[in-house]
Symmetry: C2
Subunit: 353 residues, 2 copies
């Protein structure tokens, strides 16, 4: 740490992303990437822009915003586009922070508390139920902004739209941020509700269901007033935040609804297949509406399993949080990748017999 670091950052604990090891080839099921390439039109559109990189990208992002708005029958004024969801979340937390902090579940996306610590705001932890579902009633008296992931990160558990609306309706003067990074794998987005509820922000990413993790594009959907506030913060931080290639790839991807439907359907089928097989191997598997499964084995600890699988060339993710430390999180890849994963799991379990 240098002598110049701002005193309020001395205890900053940065977010630790899933490993991206460069030493050998793994079957990578640890960062919830899509196993499918981007939509063909997206690849072409991105490559076409490579020769034009001497010119800045369009700082208004208007064509991209329009493409994202069209998916939900919204207007471009209802959309902010960002260099990935994390950036959008950072702007949202910054724009709407209060001295009361921000509330979110105990088990959720680990980036939320990091952002709070960077911004110097408190966070109020509202524990999930014993079955890891969100108890909306527990937020009734929370008087600071609320942020939930739906489906929830790490668990994959989905909160039905009626419950999300109940959360939003608890107080019109309280902001509710719904992070829908994993909504496209069977859930129903709340984005169409942003003009009905002026206290709702829906966050989405193109990293998972759109196969564009490496392009870094995400969106925030909200009423025009909230988006105007967010755009002011974005333009004060990084006015040209999305590069030309990613902007073109994202717009092209959004226009290919057939490829998108095909990929997300496949993930859901392979998810079901993987869950059934894990159950048969004795695992408890949380009910997931995302592109990953959180699962635990009665005889093998989460970290132990993670390490044994890594040795066999399969990367999954393990979290140290007390409530989920016995689990592993496995991203849903192709059927072939999941068969390799299941084979490795079988081998690891058999070792102890």
């Amino acid at each position: 740490m240098s002598i110049f670091l701002s005193t309020d950052l001395k205890y900053l604990q940065p977010y630790v992303p899933g490993e991206q090891p460069q030493d050998r080839r793994y079957i990578k099921l640890n960062t919830n990437e899509s196993p499918f390439p981007p939509a063909p039109g997206a690849v072409v559109a991105a490559a076409e822009q490579a020769a034009n990189l001497n010119l800045y990208s369009d700082p208004t992002c208007l064509p991209l915003k329009r493409a994202a708005a069209d998916v939900y029958g919204l207007a471009p004024e209802n959309v902010m586009a960002g260099n990935g969801s994390d950036e959008n979340l950072a702007h949202i937390f910054r724009a709407f922070l209060t001295d009361k902090g921000i509330a979110f579940p105990d088990i959720t996306y680990g980036f939320y508390p990091v952002l709070c610590s960077l911004l110097g705001i408190a966070h109020k932890v509202v524990p999930l139920r014993a079955d890891f579902s969100i108890a909306v009633g527990d937020y009734k008296d929370v008087d600071c902004p609320v942020c939930i992931a739906n489906p929830n990160a790490q668990t994959g558990i989905y909160l039905p739209p009626a419950e999300v609306q109940r959360l939003i309706e608890q107080s019109a003067s309280r902001l509710v941020i719904v992070d829908e990074a994993y909504i496209d794998f069977g859930g129903q987005s709340c984005a169409p509700l942003v003009n009905k509820y002026k206290n709702l922000i829906v966050v989405q990413t193109m990293s998972k269901s759109r196969s564009l993790a490496g392009a870094r594009v995400g969106f925030a959907f909200a009423c025009a007033e909230l988006i105007a506030d967010l755009e002011a913060v974005r333009a004060s931080f990084n006015p040209y935040n999305i590069n030309r290639m990613s902007m073109a790839a994202a717009a092209a991807s959004l226009s290919d609804s057939g490829y998108f439907a095909d990929c997300t359907k496949k993930i859901q089928l392979v998810r079901q297949y993987t869950a059934i097989n894990l159950n048969e191997l004795g695992f408890e598997v949380l009910p997931s509406m995302s592109n990953f499964l959180l699962a635990r084995h009665p005889a093998k600890g989460g970290e132990e399993l993670y390490l044994a699988l890594k040795e066999r060339g399969i990367l999954v993710r393990h979290f140290g949080d007390e409530r989920i430390k016995d689990y592993i999180r496995v991203s849903i890849g192709t059927r072939e990748q999941m068969d390799a994963f299941l084979g490795a799991v079988r081998a690891v379990i058999a070792e102890d017999v």
Copy 2:
């Protein structure tokens, strides 16, 4: 403005980038872009990554950091890579802010005061001399971080390395940020000094001299301790901040020193040609070591000239600041573009005769 906007942001004035009009084709000399395409290898490297966008980019940016470090004989530990210079500046201002604010010249990059306002910190303005040069002596008693652009934004005036070192040496306990966005057009970088001076951060961008404005890649160079602090902030804000395509393009561009030398040399020659021609037309032209010129005509106001040129399909930039409102800023394009610009200027001036 929504009712939810944080009270400290109610007067936020976002940065206003130069126009990127979509209505008609202009000769665009308003945002200091390069008129040359990126290095051929950069175009190929970027396009190759388009098919791999389903996978996240490497959050360590190690190969890119190594390529940038190599240019100055530094180590990867001396480099932070960001999604453009603005993002890096935002992280630097955030990481090292003090309750005394940040000091910079009255005429400089307009993004610095915007960042201060976003971060809720004061900024101390130290006026340039009457000839628009930086008076290093005026910073002697400044006890907060100092940020200068060298060559300076808007003026193009270069502060020689000995003067920069004098600024750094005024106080070892005061941070000095040197924004070298325009250093490659004839200046000498201070990046090699970052291990000598533990209070120095050098900021560079690939947007200008490397023809990669649309890719969004910039660097901060500093001693390992300062970079470690910056990396903690970066990873707390957006761990995967550079997309796969831009990362590959930037590394490839840095490896092509021949193309780089060729492009930056051409810009310097055309800059000289343009300045001479403007002088002949009666303009006062500030001595520029950048890829733009700040110039004023005795009979035509800056705004008037800007509007008349725009009508003729030539985009330059005009700033409303009192000290430079009589000037226009024109980016250096190709010889052909500058001839078109000079022709339009001649026509505009002739109108009044």
